[in-house]
Symmetry: C2
Subunit: 189 residues, 2 copies
């Protein structure tokens, strides 16, 4: 998605430790017009599917998922929570490792919101090691829901996440594929 | 806002400890069509203002703020973070008490995203004790930005938050004013 790549090139910031920050339009401040365009692009990449729900994870996935919902007829958005607020009998819970903070935390979705009849499109902002997506896939599988695919805004294709999720049998589409952040330069595939 | 009150009456759940849960359309699963209607209603309540930015707090404020942004010409949305990711010289930080969890945490916004020229409309999901709004007001004041008002989706008017924020000189509008949750019944003003 050229518009997105241009935006990342212009406003993305590279930090030591292979960190790409896009705080100015997605992860802290949000460019809502761009979110609309991202929603349309995700629909273009998954034109034929008929999801019943969009599943994402707080917080940065929410603005993206809202726009994707509209493209599929205003279906409900569910955002998985990063802090468990429910007990095990009420929620599907997966462990997720945070590489940024070097700690594990629970990712949860209340059982009442996903069931075996659901056709889920997963949406998230970043794919690097694949921890967040792996949790969301695990939650759908606990619920015996069908996963129609996963759409990710920015993917670091040189990290293991993309292959990891594809190897689980999931159709993954990435809107911007980062192939290198070396020499303080963002290279896309 | 009648549509919202009807939805709360139909799908809201009351729990011991004066807790009103609206997880099925706002705080966990999100009804995106309703978010659009909420965005329009907030514009109707603040018709004349010309905000430069919408400020909210993760996570449930984001879907609301996205729709409000569109009503004012797709201005940027900033969501304050509940876990400090930046140091003091890079961020405006306020302490907020969580009554649900009985702990304090930091609410922060990177300094680069709000400045003295900004005209801010604050948006949030709930107003009870006013802790979250108080933090957002504090952040705007640290930045010397102008606060045009605060729009809240659900307000418990029998708790101290509304008066507290109004006493700070802020114009607050609430879309649904809950006046009691007694006897397992939701009463609106």
């Amino acid at each position: 998605m050229k518009l997105l790549e241009d935006k990342i090139r212009k406003d993305g910031k590279i930090y030591p430790g292979d960190i790409l920050k896009i705080d100015s339009f997605l992860n802290h401040q949000i460019d809502i017009k761009l979110m609309e365009e991202i929603g349309k692009e995700i629909k273009r990449l998954f034109p034929e599917i008929k999801p019943t729900k969009i599943l994402t994870i707080e917080s940065s996935g929410i603005a993206i998922a809202s726009e994707v919902s509209k493209e599929y007829g205003y279906i409900p958005v569910i955002f998985a929570k990063k802090k468990k607020a429910l007990n095990m009998s009420e929620a599907y819970i997966e462990k997720e490792k945070s590489y940024t903070r070097d700690e594990y935390y629970d990712v949860s979705v209340a059982r009442e919101f996903i069931n075996k009849d659901d056709q889920i499109l997963i949406v998230d902002d970043f794919l690097a090691n694949g921890e967040a997506l792996n949790s969301l896939v695990g939650i759908c599988r606990q619920a015996n829901a069908t996963i129609l695919g996963a759409a990710v805004v920015v993917c670091k294709i040189y990290q293991p996440g993309l292959k990891r999720i594809e190897n689980m049998g999931i159709h993954v589409e990435c809107l911007a594929k980062v192939k290198s952040l070396e020499n303080n330069t963002i290279e896309f595939e």
